[in-house]
Symmetry: C2
DNA sequence: CTCGATAGTTCATACCAGATACAAAGTAGG
DNA sequence: CCTACTTTGTATCTGGTATGAACTATCGAG
């Protein structure tokens, strides 16, 4: 996003101390190591503008605190060989992708690479479901006891309350409001970060994606409903009570269908997976498949009704994305969900609809990683987002 | 905005030096003086958490650089009397409110108080219009030669390009793209900041409003068209090419009227002043008044058709505000424009429409200051937004 | 007038990044 | 092998900055 450099931030109640520059530069150095996986101290100095001596001191600290480690030695045409730095591969994060049909727990390194993952069959009862997830996490931790775990990230198909993220409301799971976070924390002793999928994926794109973090992007999670996560000005946009990003519940058809939210004709009633299945039913005059994956499969196999349903859904999707483009002018819109397994079916109609936006340049619309990878990574991002703070909870400060 | 405290910012390419804390704390101290108009060094220390000694040093700097000055002496039940600090009342800012019908130039102090203002009749020809504004500014500066001017803020009823703000596109003024900023700069020698009204008003609300700057807010400028300014996470949200906030051009009626942007049924075709006049014409079957002000006057005088037109417009307005509430969940929506001169006519229907948003808590919707005050202040905010930077362009560094 | 309280200043200290010199470790060429 | 050169990484000194304690200034109450 090309916004004007703002020399003045509205940091009205946050004073800076002598250690502030160190904190800022620590984050900077750590990030550079995380992004450029093979990078020397000298490289960091060049990229960051810091002095080599300063970088050395900070790197020394980060190594002492086990955030990073020295790796291979490089080779240059002339001069002393650089020592590459890398994230400490002994540290790991637990990622939990809570999904109505395919809940997964995984172990990932600090770079977001999935090391191991397990599917967790979810009982209907919410208390048992939480127990199942917790025991799956414990099993996974035991199986990877050589790692030191920094925390647990949970991507939820629902909304968390406030910033404290104590409770969730997940209508598609039929879970009542409950305190998943604190239960998990008690069970494992680890820090637990949780947020809805769209927010988490937005963070994930910035942490692990190609974009360099200076751009605004919106993540649209198309599932049973539609949720959006907005990343702008270097932060997630959460809004009052954490309710920002409910583009899915903007009314696009004043006389449309009733939505679960109590309103009528919300965007998600026209463009979610459910809408796609409904379109199929209307078009084919026959019963729709049970899951959206099947509808996609049918379309891939050339079923005319399925293709027509997907086209109708794509147009509705595109119309909503156009709304987002007008409203926020992000540099990118990333789509998450089952649609990404066959994005080529959706893309043409979505693009056609987007083109009608004559005012602003249309943002790139691209699918996220396929399968559960995007969601698992997003859970990792939730933990990573807390960064290499000076006081590291899971190991003593050196 | 209740977002989680983010210990880690994506400051990837910005390193901190040992002067960084001073810059941060200067801003903090300056802001506290600006907000609490009567405040002592000791007060600032208590509020900010800085040491009294640190505050004293910073205050000394700010006084030397003529940003602030010592003022009256306070009185306490016990102990030494505090010396109140205040903004330097010798410093001032030129505010320009470019408006198709009532362009105004003004002098304001650093606290946003308007000291003097003049109406500028605008010739149709754009070159002459710019000349008229420039000479009005010069006249105003001459009449207030006891002040030291920090810069010129220009609020525009159009969109500026990028962050550099070199050009404007103001369709409602029939001005071609041109370089108003650099002309103004050459003519006066002052720093010129310019932005569209909605963005400027959003800054203004944060700088001079009651909100404490930690909240998200959206400013909706209802005029010939509709523009919105989004303030989130401590920054204006500008988006790619500075095109964020075009909620006015979100399609709300797929088969609606053609809009100037080339699309159909944009929100601004249903809820702008123009729409109001059109509704009057449709309802009364007679010619509409020439300006929206007259329509408001008629409604205030009890004209049934005018009241009906305003109600229809209010519903459309409310529907769009509901969209904004769903999308961004701001803590406040501030309305700017002619509608604020008789907001009580619009408020009931707007509120009724907003109530239909059952998902999130509805944000407060309130009108900005009446008349041109909001727009003039917003122009001041544009200059103020650059803050008490260390190198002050308009006077030597001491 | 003295005591206690509050505002504001002075000064020694510690932290930090920058700058410079230097040590380490390689290549190229004679 | 030796020298010149290049690049990485470290050591050390310097200057900017906030901190915290001690100090001065100023006021009201008894």
């Amino acid at each position: 996003m090309a916004h004007a450099p703002q020399r003045f931030n509205f940091t009205r109640h946050q004073s800076a101390s002598n250690r502030t520059p160190r904190q800022i530069n620590r984050n900077l150095v750590f990030n550079l190591i995380r992004i450029h996986q093979l990078v020397s101290r000298a490289d960091i100095a060049r990229i960051s503008g810091l002095q080599r001596s300063t970088v050395s001191l900070i790197v020394e600290d980060l190594i002492k605190e086990n955030w990073i480690m020295e790796g291979a030695t490089g080779r240059l045409p002339r001069g002393r060989r650089p020592t590459f730095l890398q994230l400490n591969n002994q540290r790991a994060v637990i990622a939990v992708d809570v999904h109505p049909l395919r809940t997964t727990v995984a172990v990932a390194d600090l770079g977001g690479r999935i090391i191991a993952q397990n599917l967790v069959p979810l009982p209907d009862d919410s208390a048992k479901a939480i127990q199942a997830i917790t025991s799956a996490v414990k099993k996974l931790m035991a199986a990877n006891s050589d790692k030191s775990f920094d925390g647990i990230g949970i991507s939820l198909p629902g909304r968390t309350d406030l910033g404290l993220q104590k409770l969730i409301f997940a209508p598609n799971l039929n879970w009542p409001v409950l305190s998943l976070k604190s239960r998990m924390q008690r069970a494992t002793g680890l820090r637990v970060e949780m947020d809805n999928v769209a927010n988490a994926c937005a963070l994930s794109e910035v942490w692990f994606g190609e974009s360099d973090g200076t751009h605004d992007l919106v993540v649209v999670n198309v599932s049973e409903g539609i949720g959006t996560g907005i990343f702008a000005n270097g932060h997630l946009l959460r809004g009052e009570d954490g309710m920002a990003g409910e583009f899915g519940h903007v009314q696009v058809e004043p006389n449309g269908l009733m939505c679960g939210c109590g309103s009528r004709g919300c965007w998600e009633t026209t463009a979610s997976n459910r809408a796609g299945l409904r379109y199929f039913q209307e078009i084919s005059k026959s019963e729709s498949p049970k899951t959206f994956d099947v509808l996609i499969k049918m379309a891939q196999d050339g079923d005319v009704s399925a293709l027509a349903a997907i086209e109708k859904m794509s147009h509705a999707l595109g119309r909503g994305l156009r709304m987002i483009a007008s409203a926020l002018a992000p540099s990118e819109i990333v789509v998450v969900g089952e649609v990404t397994t066959a994005w080529y079916l959706f893309s043409p109609s979505v693009q056609a609809e987007m083109q009608q936006n004559s005012l602003a340049r249309s943002p790139k619309v691209r699918p996220a990683l396929e399968g559960n990878t995007a969601r698992l990574r997003s859970a990792v991002a939730l933990v990573m987002n807390e960064g290499p703070v000076e006081s590291c909870p899971s190991r003593p400060k050196l």
